[in-house]
C-alpha cells in the first residue's frame, strides 16, 4: 500500500514539474520536496510528543496536564513555541560568538538528518541508503559537538560542566549502542534498514525475540544518547540548573529542546525498525490490513512511551555511576551477546 | 540525675572553677564560670562520664549594657543521662573577648560566628571567625541593646 501512495505522489510531482518546465532538474526537486515533507512531518510529530510527554507525566503524577489550548490541550506546544520565538534573545556578553550561535543549529539539524534513512513503510523512505545503519550512528553523534560547543561558548561554569558531562556520556554510550546493533547486522548481513525489515518479514519473527538483550541495551543506550532521564546529567536541573543550555533562551533554547525530542524519535524509529519489525503488522493482527505506516508509528510511540516512563519514575544517576553502568555493565553484556550470536549464526549456518 | 543533684554535684566538683551555681525559678541549673576556667570546665563537663554533656545544644549571648557585660550562654545536653545545664560566661562589654569552645564541640563553630556577628564577641582561637548573617563589610552589632540603624527599626508605641 505504501509504495502505491508513493507512486501516486511521484506521478503528481512529475506532472507539476512538466507544467512548470522543471523536468530537467526533477531529481533535485524530488529530494527537496522529500526533505521539506520530512521536516514538516517530524516537527509536527515532535510537537505532539511534547504534549504527550506532559500528559504522560501528568497522568503518572496524578495531575491533569495541559488542557486549555485547543482540544485536550493539543495546541499547548504551539503556544509555547510561539512564546519562545517571540522572547527576547538573552545571551552572555562574554560568550564565544560563533560556536554559541552554531551550537543550537547543529543540535537541531544533526538529529533531524537522522530521520531520512528510516523507512516508514515498504519503499517509503527519503533516502534508502545501503549503509543506513552506519549513517544514522555517525550523524546522531554530531549532537555531542553541538553540546560541547554550547557548554564551552556560554562562558558559564554550569554550562561547561554540562558540556563535558555530555561529551563523556555520549562517547561512552555510543559504544554499547553500536555493539547492540551489531548482532542484527551479523544475522542479516545488511546495513540497510529496509532490508533488515524485509529479513524479519521473511524469517517470520522480529529481532526483539532472539535479541531481547540487544533490545534492552539499545533502549538504555539510546536514552543516554538523547540525554534523557535517568541519564540526563548534562542538563541535571537540580545540579547544574540546566547544564549546557543554561545560557540559552528563546529560539535557541527551543532548538535544543526540539533537538532532544527529535533524537528520541530517531532512536525509537531505529529501535522499531531493527527490533520490532518496522512497518510489519503485529502478529495475528495482519487481517486488519492497516497501512504499514500506521504500524510503524504505533511501534515508535510505544518505545517513546517507554522512554517517557523511565524519565518520570527514576532518579538521576550520578556521573561516575553513569560511566560505570556504561562501561562495566552495558558493554560487557553487548559483547557477550555478540559472541553468543556469532556462535549461533555459525552453528545454524544462517546469516550472510 | 535530677537537677538538684546536678547542682550540688557541680558545686562540690568544680568549686574553684565557678563563680556561682543556682537553680533557677524554672528549675534549670545555671552555672556562672570564672573566665579563666571556662575552657577547662567545658572540657570536664563533656568528658567526665558523670556529666557526659556531649551535645552543645545552643550557644548564644545576652547583652546587659547597664552592668557593662555581655554574657555568653551555652546550653548543654547529655543524650545518655538526659540532663541539661546552662553555662554562663561574663565578658567585658567594651572589649568583649572569650575563648572558643570550638575544639570541644564542633557545633560551636557557627554558633560562635553568629554571636560574633550579632554581638561582636571575639572568640579567641576560633578557626574561621567571620560574619555569618550580616554582610562582611557591616560595621555594627545588631543584637546589642544600644544598636540603632535609623530608618530600619520601627518601634511600636
Amino acid at each position: 500500500m505504501g509504495d502505491q501512495i508513493v507512486q501516486w505522489v511521484a506521478g503528481l510531482l512529475r506532472q507539476a514539474y512538466a507544467m512548470l518546465g522543471l523536468s530537467p532538474i526533477a531529481g533535485i526537486l524530488d529530494r527537496i520536496v522529500c526533505a521539506v515533507a520530512m521536516f514538516g512531518f517530524v516537527s509536527v510529530f515532535v510537537m505532539f510528543l511534547v504534549w504527550m510527554e506532559r500528559k504522560v507525566s501528568a497522568h503518572m503524577q496524578s495531575r491533569i496536564g495541559p488542557n486549555r489550548v485547543g482540544p485536550f490541550g493539543l495546541l499547548q506546544t504551539l503556544a509555547d513555541a510561539v512564546k519562545l520565538t517571540t522572547k527576547e534573545d538573552v545571551h552572555p556578553v562574554k560568550r564565544d560568538k560563533i560556536p554559541y550561535f552554531i551550537a543550537p543549529i547543529l543540535a537541531f539539524v544533526a538529529t533531524f538528518m537522522g530521520m531520512v534513512v528510516v523507512p516508514f513503510d515498504n519503499k517509503v523512505v527519503v533516502a534508502d541508503l545501503n549503509i543506513g545503519v552506519l549513517y544514522i550512528i555517525a550523524i546522531t553523534s554530531f549532537t555531542v559537538i553541538a553540546i560541547l560547543s554550547a557548554g564551552w561558548s556560554s562562558n558559564n561554569k554550569y554550562s561547561l560542566l554540562g558540556g563535558f558531562r555530555s561529551a563523556a556520556q555520549i562517547v561512552s554510550y555510543e559504544v554499547p549502542l553500536v555493539l547492540s546493533i551489531v548482532p542484527i547486522i551479523m544475522i542479516t548481513g545488511k546495513l540497510n534498514f529496509s532490508s533488515i525489515v524485509q529479513y524479519q518479514q521473511q524469517a517470520g519473527y522480529w529481532f526483539v525475540v532472539p535479541q531481547f538483550v540487544a533490545f534492552f541495551t539499545f533502549i538504555a543506550s539510546a536514552t543516554a544518547e538523547a540525554n534523557r532521564a535517568p541519564f540526563d546529567i548534562p542538563e541535571a536541573e537540580s545540579e547544574l540548573t540546566g547544564g549546557f543550555h543554561t545560557e540559552y533562551s528563546g529560539v535557541k533554547f527551543a532548538m535544543f529542546f526540539l533537538g532532544e525530542y527529535v533524537a528520541v524519535v530517531v532512536s525509537s524509529a531505529v529501535a522499531a525498525t531493527i527490533f520490532l519489525g518496522g512497518w510489519l503488522p503485529l502478529p495475528f493482527f495482519g487481517f486488519l490490513h492497516l497501512p504499514g505506516f500506521i504500524w510503524f508509528m504505533a511501534k515508535v510511540l510505544f518505545i517513546i512511551y517507554l522512554i517517557m516512563a523511565f524519565r518520570w519514575t527514576f532518579p538521576r544517576l550520578r556521573v561516575d555511576q553513569l560511566m560505570d553502568f556504561g562501561w562495566k555493565v552495558l558493554i560487557p553484556i553487548t559483547i557477550l551477546n555478540i559472541l553468543i550470536t556469532g556462535f549461533v549464526v555459525l552453528l545454524l549456518g544462517k546469516g550472510a | 540525675m535530677t537537677n538538684e543533684e546536678l547542682k550540688s554535684k557541680i558545686e562540690s566538683d568544680f568549686k574553684d572553677k565557678i563563680l556561682s551555681v543556682v537553680l533557677s525559678g524554672q528549675k534549670e541549673v545555671l552555672v556562672t564560670v570564672k573566665p579563666e576556667a571556662y575552657i577547662a570546665l567545658c572540657r570536664d563537663l563533656k568528658t567526665k562520664p558523670d556529666y557526659d554533656f556531649q551535645h552543645l545544644s545552643c550557644l548564644t549571648a545576652v547583652d546587659y549594657p547597664k552592668e557593662n557585660k555581655i554574657t555568653v550562654v551555652c546550653h548543654l545536653w547529655s543524650y545518655k543521662k538526659c540532663h541539661q545545664l546552662t553555662v554562663k560566661l561574663d565578658v567585658d562589654r567594651a572589649n568583649p573577648k572569650a575563648p572558643t569552645v570550638e575544639p570541644i564541640w564542633k557545633a560551636a563553630n557557627w554558633f560562635e560566628r553568629e554571636v560574633f556577628d550579632l554581638y561582636g564577641v571575639v572568640f579567641e582561637g576560633h578557626p574561621d571567625l567571620r560574619r555569618i548573617m550580616m554582610p562582611e563589610d557591616y560595621a555594627k552589632f545588631p543584637l546589642r541593646k544600644d544598636f540603632t540603624d535609623d530608618g530600619f527599626i520601627i518601634k511600636p508605641n
Binding site: Q61, S62, R63, K157, Y158, L161, R165, A229, P230, D232, I233, A236, S238, E239, L240, T241, W312, T313, F314, P315, R316, L317, R318, V319, D320, Q321 | S24, Q26, E28, L30, H55, L56, S57, C58, T60, V62, V73, H75, W77, Y79, C82, Q84, T86, W105, K106, A107, N109, W110, F111, L118, R131, I132, M133, M134, P135, E136, P142, L143, I153, P156
Partner: protein, 381 residues
C-alpha cells in the same frame, strides 16, 4: 563580599593530571538549594574539594524583632521561622513562654497541640520527601507528597483558617477549638494516608538508582554527628537516640505509645528511612490523641498583660519536624522578652555539609543537602 570569599580559596591543583581547581557559586538562586542558601563550591572536575555555605540571604532579624514585641505578638513571627513546619515553632515558643511564666495549658489544648504538631510533621516530611527525590532527579514523588499534604492543609484550614502560617498554638492554649466534623475527617485522612506510604516506598525505597544515589553517601558517624550538633531525624539516621519527645517529654508525649525510629548507617538512605518510619509513628500518635481527646477548656485564663518574672530565663526544647528546636527566653519583668533566641535544627544540620561532601561528586551535594532537610528561613532567621 564575593571577592573576599573567593580570595580565601587558594588556587593550585594537586591532581595527577595537573588540572586546576575552580569555584562554582551555587545559589542564592539555584533549583536545589531550597530557597536562598548560597554554596561556594571548590571543584576539581566533578569532585568537590570544599563546600562553603554562605548564609544570611534570608536573615530577617526575627530575634531582634521579638525583643521589641510582647510575648503574644512574637507568636506571629515564629510562624515565619520555619514556614514548612510552622506549628512546631508556634508550639516551641508557646511552651517556652508558659514555662517561663509558670503557666500550663489545659489537657484538651495539650492533646490538640499534639494532634496538630504531628499532622504538621507529616506535612513537613511529605514535602521533604518530594524535595529530596527531586534533588536527586526523580520528579514524580514531589507531586505524590504534595497530594497528601494538601489534605493535611485542608484540615488545618478547616480549624484555623490558614494553610501555611497558622498562628494557631497560642500561649496558654490554642486559638480555637476544632469543629465537630474535624475528628471524623482526620480519621478518614489517616486511613487514606497510611496505604499511601507503601506507594512512596514502592516508588523510591528499593529503586536501584535511588539506592545507588543514597546508600553510603554522606555518612555521618554518631560521634561526628553529636559533636557537630546534628540533630533530629538526621542524627537518628546514625543510630543516636536523640528524640526530645522521648528524652525530655513535653505535652503528653509520655502518655502515648510510639517508638523512636533509628537507623544505623548514617547515610542519606538511613535518614530517608528514619523519616519514612516517622510518618507511620506520627499517624499512630495522632490516632492515640484522637482517642484521648476529651471535652474541656482549650485555654487557661491569662492575665491581661503577660509579664515574665524579673531576671528569669528558660531554655525550652521540642522536637520539631526537622529536629531539636530550642527557644531561649530571658525575661526582665516587662511584657517583652529581653532576649529571644531560636536554636534551629537546620542551622546546626547545615554546618556538617562541608564535612560530608568533601571528596564526593557535585551531584552528591544535592543528595546530602536534601537528606539533611534544611530550610533556609530556619538557618538565617
Amino acid at each position: 563580599m564575593t571577592d573576599l570569599l573567593l580570595s580565601q580559596i587558594k588556587p593550585g591543583g594537586e591532581s595527577p593530571f595537573g588540572t586546576d581547581e575552580y569555584v562554582v557559586n551555587m545559589g542564592p538562586q539555584h533549583p536545589a538549594t531550597h530557597g536562598v542558601l548560597r554554596l561556594v563550591v571548590k571543584l576539581d572536575g566533578e569532585t568537590v574539594k570544599e563546600t562553603m555555605p554562605v548564609l544570611g540571604y534570608l536573615h530577617r532579624s526575627i530575634e531582634k524583632i521579638c525583643e521589641n514585641r510582647t510575648y503574644p505578638q512574637c507568636i506571629t513571627y515564629t510562624d515565619r521561622v520555619d514556614y514548612v513546619s510552622a506549628m512546631s515553632v508556634n508550639l516551641a515558643f508557646a511552651l517556652a513562654t508558659e514555662r517561663l511564666m509558670g503557666l500550663e495549658a489545659p489537657p484538651r489544648a495539650q492533646w490538640l497541640r499534639m494532634i496538630f504538631v504531628e499532622l504538621q510533621r507529616l506535612a513537613s516530611h511529605l514535602l521533604w520527601m518530594g524535595a529530596f527525590a527531586g534533588d536527586i532527579g526523580a520528579l514524580t514523588p514531589f507531586l505524590y507528597g504534595l497530594r497528601e499534604r494538601e489534605r493535611i492543609l485542608d484540615l488545618f484550614e478547616m480549624t484555623c483558617g490558614q494553610r501555611l502560617t497558622y498562628n494557631y498554638i497560642r500561649i496558654g492554649g490554642v486559638m480555637i477549638d476544632i469543629l465537630p466534623e474535624f475528628i471524623p475527617k482526620c480519621k478518614a485522612f489517616l486511613d487514606y494516608f497510611e496505604p499511601r506510604i507503601v506507594e512512596y516506598e514502592e516508588l523510591l525505597t528499593y529503586n536501584p538508582i535511588f539506592l545507588e544515589r543514597t546508600k553510603g553517601v554522606g555518612v555521618i558517624s554518631a560521634e561526628v554527628g553529636i559533636n557537630s550538633g546534628v540533630c533530629g531525624p538526621s542524627l537518628r539516621g546514625s543510630g543516636v537516640s536523640c528524640d526530645v519527645r522521648k528524652q525530655q517529654p513535653y505535652l503528653f508525649y509520655d502518655q502515648v505509645k510510639f517508638t523512636e525510629c533509628l537507623q544505623n548507617d548514617g547515610d542519606c538512605w538511613a535518614r530517608y528511612r528514619v523519616r519514612m518510619d516517622e510518618l507511620r509513628e506520627s499517624i499512630s500518635i495522632v490516632r492515640q490523641c484522637l482517642e484521648r481527646l476529651e471535652p474541656g477548656p482549650i485555654e487557661t485564663k491569662l492575665p491581661p498583660i503577660l509579664k515574665a518574672p524579673p531576671a528569669s530565663e528558660i531554655y525550652s526544647r521540642i522536637e520539631s519536624s526537622r529536629g531539636e528546636m530550642g527557644i531561649y527566653l530571658v525575661g526582665d519583668g516587662t511584657a517583652k522578652p529581653y532576649k529571644a533566641k531560636y536554636r534551629c535544627a537546620s542551622f546546626s544540620n547545615t554546618f556538617v555539609l562541608d564535612q560530608l561532601t568533601r571528596g564526593w561528586k557535585v551531584a552528591d551535594i544535592m543528595a546530602v543537602l536534601g537528606s539533611l532537610d534544611m530550610i533556609v528561613p530556619e538557618v538565617d532567621r
